[in-house]
């Protein structure tokens, strides 16, 4: 350890370890001797593998966080949630529509939200989870998609929901519905796909492939930049 860095005491599932204060929870567990299997994926706040619950000694509040994105604190009592069961509805995107009726078939529990806001309070991404559930109930999939977009599917919301909602899967379905049916398809893209399928670029690519390195270098160095 470098000079000048203090230490804190943390309790991994009740067991005490003294660790450098600059570490994240994940690094601290490793420092303490754990070789992670579950509970560790991207190590950068993108995958949601590392949901953690903790309390600080002397404080009544139950806190949550991503182990890779939360710094350790003195007196932290923590446990990771390595897995939390969540239901995923099976569907064929080509056969459903962005309608409340279709959604209710897939995720009826979404419409039984009690409005307790536990999901929103617990979200480590600070997403207003309850609000996007409300948008889904109203059939406003564009807003639900937009608001839920940063979800990492860590499952903390699901662990706290008294109505048994699997928010992250409902959100993902809303985003897929929005993107498939409500956002317009890209016309340029469709045109380019047609051109490629009709072989419009085949000759040009063949020629490029057969060009010498010198010729390619010349083309590259003189290419126009938008």
């Amino acid at each position: 350890m470098r000079d000048g860095i203090g230490t804190v005491d943390i309790y991994v599932m009740g067991k005490q370890y003294r660790v450098p204060e600059t570490l994240t929870i994940l690094e601290a567990m490793e420092y303490a001797g754990y070789q992670m299997k579950r509970g560790c994926g991207c190590r950068a706040g993108f995958c949601g593998a590392c949901a953690t619950v903790y309390r600080i000694a002397g404080d009544f509040e139950l806190k949550v966080g991503l182990a890779c994105q939360t710094k350790v604190e003195q007196g932290m009592y923590l446990a990771q949630i390595p897995f939390f069961p969540g239901r995923k509805a099976i569907f064929n995107l080509e056969e459903i529509k962005p309608s409340v009726a279709d959604f209710a078939q897939l995720y009826p529990e979404v419409f039984r939200c009690l409005g307790c806001s536990s999901c929103t309070k617990v979200c480590p991404q600070d997403i207003d989870v309850m609000q996007y559930i409300a948008y889904i109930q109203r059939g406003d999939f564009a807003k639900a998609a937009d608001l839920s977009f940063d979800c990492l599917m860590c499952g903390l919301c699901v662990s706290r929901c008294p109505a048994h909602i699997v928010h992250y899967n409902a959100a993902l379905t809303s985003r897929r519905l929005y993107s498939r049916y409500l956002a317009k398809p890209d016309a340029f893209l469709a045109e380019r796909v047609r051109e490629i399928e009709n072989g419009a670029f085949d000759a040009e690519l063949q020629e490029l492939m057969e060009s010498s390195r010198e010729r390619l270098q010349e083309l590259y160095n003189s290419r126009e930049i938008e």
């Binding site: 690094e27 299997k37 560790c40 995923k88 569907f91 995107l93 998609a145 929005y178 016309a187 893209l189």
Partner: protein, 533 residues
């Protein structure tokens, strides 16, 4: 308030020079200048970090030392008794790795009528794919074309790309975007449906498609959702540890290892697709890495042992903008989109020293030069030097609110550790990011071993010796899909493989022994070890 008073003092220089830098672009390097900075400062050109491989099909080729260590190693199965002809799983196509390459291969193989099994080391989607922020390239705008894209790819790749692979990459690109669009991937679009596209390092057209700065996550979760919808069988926490070959020496399955129960399983398959991703967790030259926890070169090791050839395995990409401070962000990627939107690197005097969108190899080398040779880095309390990345400039160029809209993941990540990147510049240094080379493939994703396919970051040749941003998310889908389709078609033409064996390991072990390599070295690594004691 994560920055110390000393850093705040240095930050003032950045603020002072900012007005004079707006609208005053820094010149790009000439081709000669690029060559020079690469030769002198890119880690790939520093012979100290490499050695010649002493065993296997590519004996005599150069590899980074840390890669050579896992290649020149004994199998985990040495001395383990297994019944290789009782199958726990018996399928048409076995896919090893649950990132974007594996998921797209699985979808296409199954769509082509094959029975598919996907096994992965961590959870399905715990992968580098999930972490890609910046975007994915495709030439789909009227002022762009696959030919122009091709030139960017090979120019960026130092003209060392395999032409057929580069062609497949650019020609399939719009098809891949259209496939994703139809699967309900939420790309950034204008009202009329046109995808919003911007520049990336080394692009000559604005062809970077994004889903905010969660592009890889959005693609990954969509593909995973679709795989579940289609009933594809997935086993998590169950890495492959060795390939199985049949009587004729063709790939015929794999030995799997349940990380939790520590049991081995035998999976027989007519064709096998390796999609295990990269190797950042080998920490070449001691660099921190942007890669996910499972990026330990397992596929490279297994494939090489079975006799598959490599290409450009000694070419590693260092991303110019890795987090340097606060310490919790060390090595983490600052997406290239940050520079795409106009943020520029600055030295300790607040001066720009390199054009902000050079190719990654050049940009990284210039940053290393600024710190190591010119000694103009920003000294950090953690004992390393770094450079500024002037993120507040983005809001000056594009208006307030741009960072929140376009870089929400970055904003959140730095805010978690006390830095507001809308107001305070970031501190960055190159981070180990990507494996440019890998196992050699052809345009169907076939390796040099029959019935063995490779897709994604484990494969090599597509990008020459330097990949451009946005071409990796693209390649994993292009070659994942191609490999999936071809492996499925191939599996239909053949009977179930017979005489499954691990004879190649014995041969390999003999070579190791002859080279005097000690038996304590075992691979694939599977999980890195970061324990303190």
């Amino acid at each position: 308030m994560a920055y110390t008073p000393q850093l705040r003092e240095l930050m003032k220089k950045v603020e002072e020079t900012r007005p004079s830098r707006v609208g005053n672009p820094f010149p790009r390097m000439t081709p000669e200048e690029r060559q020079e900075v690469l030769k002198k400062f890119h880690p790939d050109y520093n012979e100290e970090g490499f050695r010649e491989i002493r065993v296997g099909v590519d004996k005599g080729k150069r590899m980074p030392t840390e890669m050579a260590d896992v290649i020149e190693a004994y199998s985990r199965l040495k001395g383990v008794a297994l019944d290789l002809n009782t199958f726990d799983y018996d399928v048409d196509v076995l896919i090893i790795g649950g990132g974007g390459a594996g998921a797209s291969a699985a979808l296409e193989a199954q769509a082509a009528g094959a029975e598919v099994l996907l096994v992965t080391k961590l959870r399905f989607g715990d992968a580098n794919t999930m972490m890609a922020q910046g975007g994915i390239q495709a030439a789909d705008k009227p002022n762009d074309s696959p030919g122009i894209h091709y030139l960017d790819v090979v120019g960026g790749g130092r003209f060392e790309n395999i032409p057929e692979l580069a062609r497949a990459l650019v020609m399939d690109a719009p098809l891949v975007i259209a496939w994703l669009e139809k699967l309900g991937t939420m790309f950034d679009k204008k009202e009329d449906g046109t995808m919003i596209t911007i520049h990336g390092g080394g692009t000559s057209r604005k062809r970077m498609h994004a889903a905010r700065d969660y592009t890889g996550a959005e693609i990954m979760r969509t593909l995973r959702d679709e795989a579940y919808n289609r009933g594809i069988k997935v086993i998590e926490f169950c890495p492959a540890v060795e390939l199985l070959l049949d009587k004729q020496g063709r790939a015929a399955g794999a030995v799997l290892y349940n990380l939790e129960t520590e049991q081995y399983y035998i999976a027989r398959a007519k064709t096998v697709i390796i999609a295990t991703g990269g190797s950042g967790r080998l920490h070449y030259r001691g660099f921190p890495t942007s890669n996910h926890y499972g990026a330990t070169a397992d596929g490279l090791v297994m494939g090489y042992r079975a006799g598959a050839k490599t290409i450009y395995a000694d070419s590693i990409q260092y991303h110019p903008t890795g987090g340097a401070y606060p310490p919790q962000l060390l090595g983490l990627l600052v997406t290239e989109k940050t520079r795409g939107l106009g943020a520029t690197p600055l030295n300790v005097k607040g001066e720009q020293f390199v054009y902000h969108l050079e190719t990654r190899d050049v940009e990284s080398s210039a940053i290393i030069r600024e710190c190591k040779e010119r000694k103009l880095g920003v000294p950090l309390p953690t004992g390393i030097d770094a450079v500024w990345l002037d993120s507040p400039l983005i809001e000056q160029i594009h208006g307030e609110g741009t960072i929140e809209r376009q870089l929400p993941a970055m904003l959140r990540q730095f805010a978690r550790f006390g830095v507001d990147i809308r107001k305070e510049p970031m501190l960055i240094y190159p981070t180990l990011h990507y494996q440019n080379g890998g196992l050699l493939i052809n345009e169907n994703g076939q390796s040099t071993i029959e019935n063995l396919y490779v897709a994604g970051e484990t494969a090599g040749g597509i990008h020459g010796t330097n990949r451009l941003m946005g071409n990796s998310l693209l390649d994993i889908l292009v070659f994942g899909r191609r490999a999936g389709r071809h492996a499925a078609a191939k599996s239909k033409e053949m009977a179930a493989p017979e005489g499954l064996n691990l004879d190649h390991l014995e041969q390999y072990h003999r070579e190791l022994d002859q080279a005097g390599i000690g038996a304590e070295r075992v691979s694939p690594m599977l999980l890195p070890r970061y324990t303190h004691r």
